[in-house]
């Protein structure tokens, strides 16, 4: 028991540094997913038929191919084919972000569709262009409604980020494996890795829950 504890304590600073790498991956991927996901959702709801088709294809592709396949496809295949020299970290961040964009776009799309259509009409009746109506009337409400789904997406991306280990990104999982295969303290080390992920999920979803509460529209009982 003490040996196990000592092994964990020894490795802890090293594993926690991996936690920072994991946080970096997740924050970056969620950010990229947000930046792409919002316009994708808007395009899929309000766009011309060909725009909708292109986005539909994107979503189908990134939701349909396994994460590990995409990581290898981009890192060893596409990026090197295009002569883009990316670190494993950057490649994993981009791939996680591109996948998350597909999922996030569907979260936002659902939220946009759940808004009463009349508000968009009312905005146009005031003389707003479609763009302004989307920017000032639709999105402020849709993004609020998206927060619970977004929090869910966060916990999924967080756990998916462990697969970046396969590219050699020194995140929590990679470091745990590295230490465990040298010290043979498999059980306590992977247990610790799991705990770190659990903590990150807890604090992340709690933070988002607080944000949700903060931006809540008054008088809406939800």
């Amino acid at each position: 028991m003490t040996a196990n504890l000592l092994a964990v304590l020894d490795a802890l600073p090293y594993l926690l540094q991996g936690g920072l790498v994991t946080i970096g991956l997740v924050v970056g991927a969620m950010g990229l997913g947000l930046v792409l996901g919002v316009p994708f959702a808007v395009g899929q709801v309000y766009g011309l038929p060909w725009v909708r088709r292109v986005i539909g294809f994107y979503v189908w592709f990134f939701r349909g191919v396994p994460l590990l396949v995409l990581l290898f496809l981009f890192y060893f295949g596409l990026f090197s084919l295009m002569n883009i020299n990316l670190s494993a970290f950057a490649a994993a961040l981009i791939v996680l972000g591109l996948i998350s964009a597909a999922y996030q776009s569907q979260i936002f799309r659902g939220a946009i569709l759940s808004l009463p259509e009349g508000q968009f009409k009312a905005a146009k009746a005031l003389g707003m262009s479609d763009t302004r109506a989307i920017l000032f009337v639709v999105l402020p409400q849709a993004l609020r409604l998206s927060l619970p789904g977004w929090s869910n997406e966060y916990s999924i991306v967080l756990k998916d980020s462990a697969v970046a280990y396969a590219l050699g990104v020194a995140e929590v999982m990679a470091r745990s494996h590295f230490v465990a295969s040298r010290t043979y303290y498999h059980m306590p080390l992977y247990f610790t890795a799991g705990l770190i992920f659990l903590c990150l999920t807890y604090f992340g979803t709690r933070g988002l829950r607080m944000l949700e509460e903060k931006v809540k529209i008054h008088g809406y009982s939800r």
Partner: protein
């Protein structure tokens, strides 16, 4: 048209949804300060007509003129400029749920007319006071009653300085008690000389204030004329039948 013609004129508006012809070449015009009331059974095309007039529904055929100038709805800037001059009130209010009453009135001023924050606020407060909601400025739509919501939506439209207002059954979604407060706001607008087209089932109100009542059925205008005529001695049998039903809805005679 140097002569003072109608403020708003619609010519031959037609709209088809699939196989259903919702509007069959409807024409109408409103002079400054006029109140025209559209009546007719549900599905007659009143709502579609109003929405075609400001192109929220694109008519298949027909033209709309404001101050004698045809509106080319395919030119986006022109369309947006035109819509600013045509206030629209909806049956279910369509307030922006994420904004306070004040925010709802302000947003058109700041985001469409590019007014400065301070000036927009002043104007919005004034418009809310005009509809008797000065002390509710900070409330969100979910905290307001139906009648209050509709009054906010009227203030929102008024803030844009419209030349004409289109009201699509503004009291149909309201409890009976709340109808009065909205009608009295509309009554004030009439006395201030606002030009309006209103679709409503409030026949007493229409009889009191309208310059003309237009009876629509099945996507076309059946008959139009001054209230006294349409409500009591219409030429058309169908108009008489409809009017007698809505003036005494439970069959008793008045």
């Amino acid at each position: 048209m140097a002569e003072k013609g109608p403020v708003l004129r619609a010519e031959g508006l037609s709209k088809q949804y699939g196989a259903r012809q919702v509007l069959r070449g409807v024409s109408l015009s409103v002079n400054e300060g006029d109140l025209k009331v559209l009546i007719g059974p549900s599905g007659a095309g009143k709502s579609t007509l109003l929405q075609c007039i400001n192109f929220l529904v694109l008519p298949d055929k027909g033209q709309v003129f404001l101050d004698g100038r045809e509106i080319l709805h395919t030119r986006r800037k022109e369309l947006c400029a035109y819509r600013q001059k045509v206030g629209m009130i909806f049956q279910d209010f369509n307030l922006f749920d994420h904004l306070t009453a004040l925010g709802n009135v302000e947003i058109g001023l700041t985001r469409v007319r590019s007014m400065k924050k301070g000036a927009a606020r002043e104007r919005a407060v004034m418009e809310l006071e005009r509809v008797g909601l000065g002390e509710h400025a900070g409330k969100y739509p979910a905290q307001l009653s139906g009648g209050q919501k509709q009054r906010v939506s009227i203030a929102r439209a008024l803030a844009m300085d419209p030349k004409v207002m289109l009201l699509d059954e503004p009291t149909s979604a309201l409890d009976p008690e709340l109808i009065t407060e909205v009608l009295s706001v509309i009554r004030n607008l009439v006395s201030e000389g606002m030009t309006m087209i209103i679709a409503t089932h409030q026949i007493g109100f229409a009889g009191d204030l309208a310059n003309e009542i237009i009876f629509m059925e099945d996507g076309a205008i059946v008959e139009q004329g001054p209230p006294a005529k349409i409500l009591t001695r219409a030429d058309c049998e169908r108009t008489r039948e409809f009017c007698s039903k809505i003036t005494s809805p439970y069959g008793e005679s008045r």
